[in-house]
Assembly symmetry: C2
Homo-oligomer: 259 residues x 2
């Protein structure tokens, strides 16, 4: 029996131009220009490569490439670059560089589903990349496939968002729009998370709806609030003034969405 | 009528030694040595100064001191230092320095309440300062007054923890111990959050208990797990592999604690 090994590495060094290009993708203007973003780390990379979605570049150490041949092999659309740890150190956005970095294409723009019988999430001016990633991860956990954002939100392809979303980008589509307008047009129950609203435990569960989470310090803007059909609050027992935006979203998904 | 103004500023410049001392407090060994930690930002500072707890130093711009005379005045135990924005820039741990920084004493060590008829939180190896702060903030929101940690957890006086806890340190006491041993000795219902446990929606609510949250990637250690009476899971609908530790804690508090 003959064992066939496929040589997956196409390039044995990261060129200066490639290194510069990858570093440029830490900035939104270059991400938008090239329609590309980066994802780092073995866990994220293996999840991406195991999915059906396309990959532009795989930059990794020889060891990592050797260990992950099986999931790299189907990606003949990707340029596989073997890099030294030093080369990875230059392009990383992490404090401790990882063994692998992927360059990924923006997903194709798909329309927000018109006939909505599911749950969605709408984010009004979420600023912190860690919060944004965690919110997408919550949507992913609860099977929310579409998230609405407005232009005041941090870019979802910011490397810190990609990192904390833990692969949610693979399954959750994000749509940018004028949130107040979109929520009106959708004609669905809109649950806005605010302080001082109705006790969420006394709310009727619904089979469909949109959960709106507001900015970390300013909350939900007046225009968006005007489109809400339900103003809901997580009852407080102790002294904290508020809950973190992502934590609130998680609790509200647990209490509002059908089990 | 005579209007009496109290000159609250005791010192009009931050000395080099003071600046060095404050910067040393970003390191745990110096925090432990001096039994002091720092809290930054106007929101946190006003909350602290408005409480009954003591303050060692208030370092702030003239403007901030002028605006906050009423809450500073009762703190005659504190050294009030007027600093320039440049001086604050040197001592800040934030990306954009704030107008005020407090040096605070470690709170007195109090025993974990022996007769427990309330809910508590236990944290097993929480590593990320943002997660730790958010967990304390959740405890604070739900009126959980005591949190157990083991030595594998990040220091709760790490500036990033203090920042994301949003004042929880004022109301939540943290106790370090051998978690597995403590949980056994407490003889209370212990709910451990794991993947693949019992559906938390089908759990009976209890008037008292301990919610255990594990390390961000490794989960709860075997020794701690052995002390658990209930293994609970938040049911998943979508594709995400897991939820963020703090988000899980928030959801479990919402589902397990008495309303």
């Amino acid at each position: 029996m003959q064992i066939t090994t496929i040589n997956i590495v196409l390039q044995y060094m990261l060129s200066k131009a490639q290194s510069k290009h990858i570093r440029s993708l830490t900035q939104q203007k270059f991400r938008d220009q090239f329609q590309q973003f980066i994802a780092e780390g073995s866990k994220l990379a293996t999840e991406w490569l195991s999915s059906q979605q396309s990959v532009i570049q795989i930059v990794a150490t020889r060891e990592w490439l050797d260990d992950n041949r099986a999931i790299i092999a189907p990606h003949n659309e990707a340029l596989v670059i073997e890099a030294t740890e030093k080369e990875l150190e230059i392009i990383t956005t992490l404090q401790t560089p990882n063994q692998v970095l992927l360059v990924l294409p923006y997903p194709p723009v798909i329309p927000f589903p018109a006939s909505a019988d599911k749950w969605y999430m709408a984010l009004d001016g979420i600023q912190d990349p860690g919060n944004m990633g965690t919110l997408l991860r919550i949507a992913d956990w609860y099977g929310i496939e579409h998230v609405l954002c407005n232009e005041q939100c941090v870019d979802i392809y910011n490397p810190k968002v990609v990192q904390s979303a833990m692969g949610a980008h693979l399954r959750v589509a994000v749509h940018y729009s004028d949130l107040a307008l979109s929520l009106k047009q959708l004609k669905m129950p809109v649950y806005a998370a605010i302080l001082g609203g109705d006790n969420v435990y006394h709310c009727n569960r619904s089979n469909s709806g949109i959960l709106v989470i507001g900015n970390e310090s300013k909350g939900i803007s007046d225009a968006v609030l005007a489109s809400a059909s339900h103003l809901v609050t997580i009852p407080r027992k102790g002294g904290a003034e508020s809950l973190n935006a992502a934590v609130s979203a998680g609790i509200l998904c647990a209490l509002l969405l059908p089990q």
